[in-house]
């Protein structure tokens, strides 16, 4: 028989999120005590994404407890030594073989579960850990009327991946890399839990000294085994627990019977505390330079928006701002409105160009346009001969040869007869008039003469009583 006897209590409770989803309890916890008072405990948290983790975690807890309880006998026969590590690794290998055999499958991704286990004999614990969850143990020192409960603390931390919602499982091929075995000598109490159980005693994912002490203190007050189990069950089901986690939660508590529970439990601040196990937050030593992240100077989003006043009466609005300001507002709104519209259409066109990949078509169109303009320029045949040989400001010499000129798209032959037909022209020539003046006069005379002739011919037709026909004769 052992000199140190242990009080124990262990419980698992289904999480509220699992109830909502209609899932069962994926946490499993189990504790075995042999005839000699050696205790083996095991908590296994099945992964939510693995559909059969409920079953596998149960197999794990039962198997581990039975195998671990073989260790004390082996220690008696072989003595303590490094073989214990090998034995534990072999137990896990055998466990995996059992899982392969049970599920007829070498791929255990549907059976993922973590492992938080330990063997407690005399005042020593050997704890085994894969993945998240925790094991916390300590030594008690009785001083006068109180128990110093944190005389020495041991902590097996949860192991998460890069992110909080990632961890490692005993069912993964790389399990051995994440298997942690610790020997905790000379302990008087031990708490183990799944990640859900850890949440109950934590604030911001860190176990809190005061929460743990309170839990231990309250548990110590329970006398019988049943009362202790009831207490743990009550803690796991409490509103506080449900507000801290929606996951399944399991806790296991072991007390050495050597502790005088009549004395008050204390946590000595000068001893090592739980918070000392967590790394102290410190700023990043060499932050990666982030040149492109420009912090806005003014946090506009933080600035409360100015309350906007609503005007029901236009006169009130006008008297508040004045007519001139309102006019400026309207002009500004119109101006910016049109500007925004223009920029919108330009952007739209660019979008279309990019969308339909018509760069080449546009370039071809531009080249064609350029060539067309070039050809038109080179082969243009505008003939304006008016100024070629006649100096219109010179006085007219009537004996000059006849010139053909182009005036207002009318070809007109300037003959001495045309020009000298009028006495006025002759007089003008004698007075030294220029060709421009002569031409204008002559054309005007011609036009008035033509109109007169036309008018008289029309009169003639009418007076003769003949039918006036225009256009096609067949129509009439």
């Amino acid at each position: 028989m052992l000199s140190t006897k242990w009080d124990y209590s262990i419980s698992s409770v289904v999480g509220s999120s699992h109830v909502d989803r209609g899932q069962g309890k994926q946490d499993n916890s189990n504790l075995l005590e042999d005839d000699n008072g050696n205790i083996s405990f095991c908590i296994s948290d099945g992964a939510g994404s693995s559909k059969n983790s409920e079953v596998s975690s149960k197999i794990v807890t039962n198997f581990i407890n039975q195998e671990f309880l073989k260790i004390p006998d082996l220690i008696n026969s072989k003595g303590k030594g490094p073989w214990i590590n090998d034995f534990i690794i072999q137990v896990v290998i055998d466990l995996r073989a059992k899982l392969f055999d049970t599920f007829k499958n070498y791929d255990l991704r549907d059976y993922h579960c973590t492992l938080v286990a330990g063997l407690v004999f005399e005042k020593t614990a050997i704890v085994v850990h894969v993945g998240d969850g925790f094991i916390l143990a300590g030594k008690n020192e009785e001083v006068a009327n109180k128990n110093i409960f944190n005389k020495s603390l041991y902590f097996s931390k949860p192991e998460n991946g890069e992110y909080k919602n990632e961890t490692y499982f005993i069912t993964e091929p790389i399990w051995l890399k994440h298997l942690r075995i610790q020997v905790l000598p000379d302990i008087d109490w031990l708490i183990a839990g799944s990640d859900g159980g850890e949440d109950i005693l934590s604030f911001g994912e860190k176990l809190q000294d005061n929460e743990v002490l309170k839990f231990l203190d309250d548990a110590a007050k329970q006398k019988s085994l049943k009362e202790k189990n009831d207490y743990i069950f009550q803690v796991l089901n409490s509103d506080v627990a449900n507000s801290r986690t929606k996951d399944d939660k399991s806790l296991c508590l072991l007390f050495s019977e050597n502790i005088d529970k009549q004395k008050k439990l204390n946590w000595a601040p000068e001893e090592k505390l739980i918070k000392d196990f967590y790394p102290v937050p410190k700023p990043i030593q060499n932050p990666i330079p982030r040149t492109s992240i420009v912090r806005p100077q003014v946090n506009t989003y933080q600035r409360p928006l100015a309350p906007t006043q609503e005007y029901n009466d236009p006169n009130e609005f006008i008297s508040e701002y004045g007519v001139f300001s309102i006019l400026l507002m309207i002009i500004k709104r119109m101006y910016f409105g049109s500007l925004e519209k223009v920029s919108f259409y330009i952007e739209w066109v660019i979008h279309q160009i990019i969308k339909f990949k018509i760069y080449s078509a546009i370039i071809a169109l531009l080249v064609f346009l350029f060539l067309f303009l070039l050809i038109k320029f080179l082969f243009s045949n505008d003939q304006i001969n008016l100024n070629d040989s006649v100096n219109f400001n010179d006085p007219v010499n009537l004996s000059d040869p006849v010139k053909e000129i182009d005036v207002k798209d009318k070809n007109m032959i300037l003959t001495p007869e045309v020009i000298t037909n009028s006495d006025v022209i002759e007089e003008s020539v004698n007075n030294g008039a220029s060709v421009n003046e002569l031409i204008t006069d002559a054309i005007e005379n011609d036009i008035t003469n033509d109109t007169k002739n036309e008018d008289t011919s029309l009169d003639k037709d009418v007076t003769n009583g003949e039918k006036v026909t225009t256009g096609n004769d067949n129509e009439t």
Partner: protein, 227 residues
């Protein structure tokens, strides 16, 4: 103070919103409102949804990058902010859509946010990046290629979880290049529903446990979303 790790040491789920605030967002929809007005309503709905969920309120962290806007560039509009400090505000549309630059900025922010959280001794879940755009990016082809390579690589390396969301009229082909997941198409202008969905999903994700398979909330209110 927009981020408080002392009073709230809970694990965080950081989320970068890369929002299109280019001029095309000012086009009017059948409802008579502009797209940006719908988006702004969505942001307000996000604030309400986050603040009505006690888990999301303590765990979700948001930052906002806009693409376009008055400076017509990708810029950080709102630095990392805890959900309980988040106050929605209105965006004004202007400028082009330099989405490639927006994606790069979003990736940098996610990485930076993650490092800051870890250096404060707080754990986190994988950061999210939600990209919402209504048009073709106006970034150069090379910048776009580089940015989409970076986003897909970041996704492969578990650096960030990306959700591209295409508003009506957006180039689906381009939006599909951002992530390994196909982009979701927003039917009509259901920004409000979208942001409520984002809040619900982040809340679910923020409380996920190791090995959990997250089933994101149903996207029935806007069926086109193929997430």
């Amino acid at each position: 103070m927009t981020v408080d790790y002392v009073n709230n040491p809970n694990q965080r789920t950081p989320c970068v919103l890369v929002l299109d605030a280019s001029y095309s967002m000012s086009s009017r929809t059948k409802s008579g409102k502009t797209r940006i007005e719908h988006l702004n309503e969505g942001l307000h709905a996000l604030e309400d949804a986050l603040k009505s969920d006690p888990i999301a309120l303590t765990r979700v962290q948001i930052s906002i990058v806009i693409v376009g806007g008055p400076n017509s560039q990708a810029e950080l509009l709102m630095d990392w902010t805890d959900a309980n400090h988040f106050t929605a505000f209105d965006l004004k549309p202007a400028g082009n859509t330099p989405l490639a630059e927006g994606l790069q900025l979003g990736l940098e922010l996610a990485e930076e946010g993650k490092n800051t959280i870890l250096s404060n001794g707080v754990s986190l879940t994988r950061p999210w990046m939600i990209v919402i755009s209504d048009g073709d990016p106006t970034s150069s082809a090379s910048a776009w290629k580089e940015a989409t390579l970076a986003t897909r690589e970041a996704e492969t390396n578990n650096k960030v979880e990306i959700f591209p969301i295409a508003v009506e009229g957006a180039s689906i082909e381009k939006m599909n290049q951002i992530s390994h997941k196909p982009c979701a198409q927003l039917s009509g202008m259901k920004f409000k529903e979208l942001f409520v969905w984002i809040s619900d999903s982040m809340s679910k994700y923020a409380q996920s446990r190791p090995g959990d398979n997250i089933t994101l909330p149903n996207t029935d209110p806007w069926r086109d979303v193929g997430l």
